[in-house]
Symmetry: D2
Subunit: 348 residues, 4 copies
């Protein structure tokens, strides 16, 4: 067992209380302080954890000797500023997704973390979701064969954000999952979107192409008749459907098609195969708990967490590529996977 | 009751026998002859209709005085040549979808039909499918409000075609339906595709933008773990899900979102509404029978069929736009809706 | 607004904390005290409600002048004894379902409540579930026509109870719902059951016949591949499917069958009708909150709550009829709906 | 390959044409003649098989030297008389389900067949349905463990029969399947039913108990909001759901419950296990073709077909037990599995 990481949570809005609750229950962490500008929120959340310090001042957190790491769950526009302050104060930092509001901000965070030898981890919780991990294993083991394409839908009615588009709100989930599964940054991205209500896009269709072959499609919307969280992964040997809303979130189809006699002239013979369908038992563990455990272990053991700073950076680059494509008639945008000079040494 | 149209069917492969069977049962038509190069097919299909003439020679059909109209269900590459021959022989013509293998061919067919005052009708059967018609009525009546976007998936495992891509094979269905529902040619089209097996695209993601506002997305694939025929139509007042594979092919969701107090400063207040969901009873009539009836009525009464030659032309233009986009890095392609000079008089 | 009812909750096991939480949030109630033999449970639950008195002694609750009503969520075998003590102490009482462990005990509770002019209410929460209420309305309004039959399945894997059979555990839900919907005690009950694991029945099939015509069937099981909570209500005009596990818990089918020309001799002509299917929007209110509100209103206004003591008594009688049938080769058992002499004055 | 069995089909109503079509395509059979009282039906069906003799006279069939076996698809009330005539004429006989209108008739058929050394086979087509066979294999192999209980629903809107109740119409399917899966006649049967429309029961709930332990429940109805063909088989090791209406007709759940430490005193410890769910690939072969092949093989090789005469007899006994129960207040009826004296030599 590692020595518990002494933590503080900054930001107690929608997501922060989930971090608080999980940290309080984790053996690997100790919850030392919570911080929010809103006294009432502070009192409400703090009531259940009488021994946890409460403060409205970020500086109290930064100055505290008994805090090793700070978890940030504030609005995206503040991530960079608070994150840099935490790092400069010599503490490890966990920042809710998306890591920052721009590639530039993300790079600043990465290089600062590297300079200080501190951990910077973005909160891509889905990378700790048991179904996502199970599918990663199916891909990595070769059971699916070569990945041919992936098609994802993440739509429901609401909740429109007032400050960011549906792409900034929902795409980090799918983009981080794609990055995790494929282990590769897309070569190009293009998108189509519309702002149906208000002035920010609330529906978007995003196409991604990968250098190794696969293409992917992501449909995002705050306007839909019913909730859909369905991703189809088509491999050359098997296919998988990942559906968060189902009691069987992972379904593996032993189906496929093969070119027969590829050498025959002009002939085009295919054999289709439709075999068993398996819904593997998937662990019911809470992703956020696994995520925070990975954070603590990475701090104590110097390991790189699954949701690494680089994943966080690439997700931002992908979102910016979508924005750039939308600003340019939906044309294809090249996505860089170059490591910025400032972080070109293997960073955690 | 109109006087029955005397018909012949050319091509008895996959679809032709369906035309034969329906014509044989239709009061509005008389099936006079069937024609195919394959003697065996001719005998097999003809056995059930002893009074129908059989021939392997297209010329027999063209020369026959007792034939008013010819229905063509041959491979796409032959549509234009056979269609022109039929029109030049002074007979009305029905051509299975897609109307032709290129815009050029389609325009030639249209102008020839116009010149001879004959009917040219493409076989876009889906425009006669009761669920598609029901949704058209919902849109036209204003019950859905303004159309915001449409997202369609038409995927299953197989059947790869040896001569055309998945776009030429499946897109005519969705493109003709979109044209029927929106009454508008898309302004631009762009696409992403991949040839996973063989050398022709077997998965494609197509984005369409319409001048009046809506955007649409169509996913097409011959590679999928299970059959999906699902189209979501999102209007400003209601939303509809059209699912061919369901026992409830049309579902109307009385759900939506509204900007409240749009004049308030900086505020972004939305109200979400989730009401009843209705699966209206949809007629079980066979679309192909309704389609052929429309063909016969258009001939006898001089009316324009719902699946008009112009719809057929525009579908070809849309498919060609997809091909052009794919050939140009997936960039946006402008889709012309100009009437070619040769057919600029209102054509049937 | 009524004057808040001052309450205490006795028993903080599985269900008690739900009562505590809802009472604490209800305007109509004031939570004065909580009581449990287990000091730790008491501390754990009480921590969130610092102003609420805690005690391990029931007598403290009974003796308190500032408590009007007591809610009992202890094991079934103790319901009667604690309930009688509460009533003898001059306080209103709410007892979790099932009301008591036998008809004899239930009658004692009813007559005691009547003698003291106090309210006795069983916790049949499902009678406050919005879907159940919506279906009650459909039946009562005549929209379904005459009720022909009802078929209910309540099965899942687990949780075996150590002290009662699946009938005592799950049947109170369906029996109270049937009583509410039909407003009638069944004439006869018969059952088939098996103890697959352990010595208490864990699967049971129960048949009910009603004097007014309808029959009903209830399937109960702790052994099932997946959770099923599905009740079909077949009326002469419409049919309803109630499915707790669905996002559309109520579905109304405008389907039916009619005898045509009933006077024709020997002929048996039926017309089948299949119309729209509607999933009405159902309120998302928490049933337990509505239930406790009804309890408080009944106390303050002297009204009879929807889940009346008589409903509680009849549910016990129905369960006992099942047990009697099982003890007698599964034969039909008459169910009495006579009011016991001791409670023959209209009791609340 | 066996020598083709020369066959005639008697009765060309709803089911007969299916027998005709399959016999015409089967290598193991030769279709020699078809027989129906209705000249028009005879002409309509016969048109596709010009070489097949047509007759309205059963005697023509009985007297024909070139006919080895007769398949009967006439109304139930005529099964016995026609079947006996066929056997007395020295021909093998296949009789659509149910085998006869009473146990007495069925016994007469069996003893006559035995006396003449001829095959008598009832048309329980479901025993040749690939999903039913797949589940039989799962049971027989012990993969499900001990069978605990089976619950089956076979309901839809229509089609009311004018001459028999829903039990005689639908129960033969489930009863023959149960007989096949369990290899055992139920010890007792009891039922509840109602005639909602007309005078014959159109909804019925049937309970069955087996000497070896399992209980079963069958719900049958011509009145239901939607078609349901769902059977749950619960074993001590695994559970299976069989759903004819699904694209995955067989689903195997690796779920169960176990008593732990059964020796501990008074303790009741269970462990629940929820594992993978598998939808095995099931062959798409047409059951009726497999059934007729079995019929031909049984004739040529002297083997006992899966749907044996004894199965046919027991299904009749089970249906009669349901009728007897309904006539006696729904009480339990003992079902005999004794072989009638007249057929006590192993009969085919």
């Amino acid at each position: 067992m590692i020595e518990p990481v002494r933590t503080a949570v900054v930001g107690l809005g929608y997501w922060g209380p989930n971090l608080v609750r999980n940290l309080a229950e984790l053996d690997e962490a100790e919850l030392v302080a919570i911080c929010d500008l809103d006294q009432e929120r502070l009192a409400l959340i703090g009531r259940r954890y009488p021994s946890v310090r409460r403060t409205t001042q970020l500086d109290d957190v930064l100055a505290a000797d008994d805090i090793d790491a700070v978890l940030i769950a504030t609005p995206v526009s503040t991530h960079s500023q608070i994150g840099l302050a935490v790092l400069e104060a010599g503490k490890h930092v966990f920042i809710e997704k998306p890591l920052a509001a721009s590639t530039e901000e993300a790079v600043a965070l990465l290089s600062t973390a590297r300079r200080h030898g501190l951990l910077l981890m973005p909160g891509h919780t889905f990378l700790y979701s048991p179904p996502v991990v199970a599918i990663h294993r199916l891909i990595a083991s070769g059971e699916l064969g070569d990945l041919l394409f992936i098609s994802a839908s993440r739509v429901n009615l609401g909740l429109h954000q007032s400050d960011v588009s549906v792409v900034w709100d929902l795409a980090p989930h799918d983009f981080s999952i794609l990055r995790y599964w494929l282990g590769e940054t897309p070569k190009t991205i293009k998108a189509t979107a519309r702002a149906c209500i208000g002035e920010l896009a609330d529906v978007a269709f995003v196409d991604l192409e990968y250098a190794s072959g696969p293409i992917a499609h992501v449909e995002l919307s705050w306007l839909a008749p019913s909730k859909l969280r369905r991703t189809t992964v088509v491999g050359s040997k098997k296919m998988v459907v990942y559906d968060v809303t189902s009691t069987e979130p992972v379904r593996v189809f032993d189906s496929g098609v093969q070119l027969r006699d590829p050498n025959s002239f002009g002939e085009y013979r295919l054999t289709y195969r439709t075999g068993d369908i398996v819904s593997p038992r998937v662990d019911a563990a809470e992703p956020i708990s696994l995520e925070l455990r990975d954070f603590c272990h990475a701090i104590r053991k110097g390991s790189t967490p699954r949701a690494s700073a680089l994943v966080g950076l690439e997700v931002i680059r992908m979102i910016e590529a979508v924005d750039e494509s939308l600003a340019n008639d939906g044309g294809r945008v090249h996505v860089s996977s170059d490591l910025p000079a400032a972080v070109n040494v293997a960073s955690r």
